[in-house]
């Protein structure tokens, strides 16, 4: 059953107005984990990064794994949303915002990891190009500096891409709220009124940004992949890494989006907005990405195997048969063997089905990042220097903290902002002609009531 515009407004503003105990419990739990993670980071900064499990030769471990993972997750939102916007896919309307939010938060979290992993994190600002008396600037030949530029560009773009369409919704909240909320939302809505000029500029801007942000998104994860591909490390130094990482990023991003949507649907009672069709469509996308991912993994492994370079084969075999094989095959299961049947069979492509597949994919993609980083580092060239890696509680706490942090930010965001773009949803209704007349009728009835009220 189609909802009326006012019903939509009411449904979607409900999370903002009513606060259940569950919300507080969730915030407290998630917040506690985040606080623990901050404490762990403080401990690490105070004692030295030795409290992590990093060691020679595995100088990058959980932190960089999480960095790549979260940057990958961030490809769910802005990129997908931008593509769908440009393609003018009508079913996108309830999905775009909750996707874009993932981008902004995942990107912020991901961008924290390079700082967390630094030996001297208090000097991280040296990556920023600023003039100093020393006249030494960042090294623009370093992929880490590219990361800095790429991630910040993507972050700025994504924040804009997320926030601009929120402004009309904030204006709506402003009109509906009272008290301090009215004041806050009044400021947030920047004085939005909804003149045709504003609407038109907004839509133009969104189009331009959608065009600009897609290549940025692709470049971001390409550059993240170059952190690895630029180093002459066995199985890193590969040209396939750019597209491989982007595909993986979108893959994990969609999975994250499906999980987020399912949670929103359940906890915010948005069953009428986030419908099975969305999960079905995203499920198909996920299926496609799963196949694509499998293809990339195959291509990566095939070229290594065929090339038969001994140093690469050392890494190859340690992941296929050696110490890292259990993780590797778990990854293959999570990323392909599990989601493929679920997503390929229509009967299984339900909400539950896609969520199960997505959880597998998220876990699998995390493993994939880990398996790209650690086995290569632990089996570099000269066998005398091979080594192992085992994370400590510090790394695990910080990692748990980022997952909790993501959830916490999402919970708080959905508390402050309508998680589905109200005006865009209404626009969608408006564009369906059948609904148009029904809506008009409804408005007339409402108008009659209002007129009576005004008269008195």
């Amino acid at each position: 059953m189609e909802k009326s515009p006012n019903q939509i407004t009411e449904d979607l503003l409900r999370p903002l107005s009513r606060t259940s105990t569950k919300f507080y419990v969730a915030v407290a739990l998630l917040g506690a984990v985040v606080v623990a993670a901050f404490a762990a980071f403080g401990y690490q900064a105070y004692s030295g990064i030795g409290v992590s499990g990093l060691r020679r030769p595995v100088f990058w471990g959980f932190y960089i794994t999480n960095f790549v993972f979260w940057i990958g997750i961030s490809h769910a939102g802005t990129l997908i949303s931008a593509i769908l916007r440009l393609a003018n896919a009508t079913w996108r309307r309830p999905v775009t915002r909750c996707a874009e939010v993932i981008t902004v938060f995942a990107l912020s979290i991901g961008a924290m990891f390079p700082i967390i992993h630094l030996g001297r994190p208090w000097l991280a600002f040296w990556l920023i190009p600023y003039a100093s008396e020393r006249q030494i600037w960042p090294n623009f030949r370093s992929p880490l500096v590219w990361d800095f530029f790429a991630i910040n560009t993507y972050l700025i773009g994504s924040v804009a891409f997320l926030t601009l369409p929120i402004i009309p919704d904030w204006a709506l909240v402003r009109d509906k709220a009272s008290g301090w909320r009215k004041r806050v939302y009044g400021i947030l809505s920047l004085g939005w009124r909804g003149t045709p000029k504003q609407w038109s500029r907004l839509e133009t801007a969104m189009h331009i940004m959608a065009i600009a942000i897609i290549p940025v998104a692709v470049s971001v994860h390409t550059i993240v992949s170059w952190d690895f591909a630029m180093a002459p490390v066995p199985m890193w130094h590969s040209t396939i890494f750019g597209p491989y990482f982007v595909a993986g990023a979108i893959f994990s991003g969609i999975a994250a989006l499906i999980i987020a949507m399912a949670c929103l649907r359940k906890f915010l009672h948005l069953e009428d907005y986030l419908k099975p069709v969305h999960f079905d469509n995203l499920g198909k996308l996920l299926l496609m990405m799963s196949l694509l991912w499998f293809y990339f993994v195959f291509a990566e492994r095939l070229t290594v195997w065929y090339g038969n370079d001994p140093s690469e084969m050392a890494v190859f075999w340690t992941t296929q048969q050696g110490a890292y094989a259990p993780l590797f095959w778990t990854m293959v299961f999570c990323n392909f063997l599990l989601p493929f049947p679920i997503l390929a069979i229509k009967r299984l492509r339900t909400i539950t089905g896609t969520v199960i597949a997505s959880i597998g994919v998220v876990a699998g993609m995390w493993l994939e990042r880990f398996l790209i980083i650690v086995p290569s580092l632990s089996h570099k060239y000269m066998p005398y220097n091979w080594g192992t890696y085992r994370p400590t509680w510090v790394e695990i706490t910080i990692m748990a903290g980022t997952f909790a942090g993501m959830a916490l930010l999402y919970v708080l965001f959905s508390k402050a902002v309508p998680i589905i773009s109200i005006w865009e949803l209404k626009l969608g209704l408006q564009k369906k002609s059948g609904v148009r007349s029904q809506e008009t009728r409804e408005r007339r009835e409402l108008t009659a009531g209002l007129e009576q009220k005004l008269e008195t």
Binding site: E10, L13, L16, S17, R18, T19, T21, Y24, V25, V27, A28, L29, G31, A32, V33, V34, V35, A36, A39, A40, Y43, Y46, S47, G48, G50, V51, R120, W122, S132, E133, R134, Q135, K176, A177, S178, G179, W180, R181, T392, W393, V394, T397
Partner: protein, 204 residues
């Protein structure tokens, strides 16, 4: 649509704090840390935090050094006005990396007789009598974290005037940090004099 404004929200930050503490305390860190500490005790306590305290760290970050308080109100002005040269006391400045701070013995070679009745000189004599040296405080020091290996001799040989970095000592009593010897200062001079700008010239 009524927006409720209950005070339930207070629960959230409090809960965050309390649970955070709980999780932090209960996390396996205590165990891991203990083994780490035991290792330090047994093998070699090689590991300490980078700085002695947070304030220390912050001070270091902003490159702030404490203003030295000298035990003797030494006056460069008078000594230089009396025709002494820098190298009379800072004897190794032309031959070694360090200019050298004179020991109490050197002071007393002259002050055995000269101005021996002055209060400050008596202090010096007292040091000598106790078998102690004057605990001069460093004025120009690089923090160990900047890893500068400054060598006086080549600069003197290249004709750099002492005053260039130490200010006009004929006007100073106890030495004060007249020039902020940051890297920009060094680099600009090295640029002017076409001296090496290679990082490893100074940092190693």
């Amino acid at each position: 649509m009524p927006f409720s404004s209950q005070r339930k929200w207070i629960v959230a930050p409090l809960g965050v704090g309390a649970l955070g503490l709980l999780i932090y305390a209960g996390s396996p860190q205590s165990g891991a840390q203990r083994t780490g500490e035991d290792a330090r005790a047994q093998v070699s306590p090689v590991f300490t935090p980078a700085h002695r305290g947070v304030l220390d760290a912050i001070r270091d970050f902003f490159n702030r050094q404490p203003v030295p308080v000298q035990p003797i109100a030494f006056t460069h002005k008078v000594h230089l006005a009396n025709g002494m040269q820098c190298t009379d006391c800072h004897t190794t400045v032309e031959t070694g990396p360090v200019a050298g701070i004179p020991s109490v013995e050197l002071c007393m070679t002259c002050h055995q007789t000269i101005a021996a009745d002055k209060l400050e000189i008596k202090k010096i004599a007292a040091y000598q009598a106790r078998g102690e040296d004057i605990p001069w405080q460093r004025v120009y020091a690089y923090s160990p974290t900047v890893h500068v290996k400054f060598n006086h001799a080549p600069h003197i040989r290249a004709g750099v005037d002492c005053a260039h970095c130490h200010g006009n000592m004929t006007q100073q009593t106890v030495a004060v940090r007249a020039v902020d010897l940051n890297m920009g200062y060094c680099v600009s001079c090295h640029r002017q004099k076409k001296a090496s700008l290679d990082c490893i010239t100074c940092h190693f």
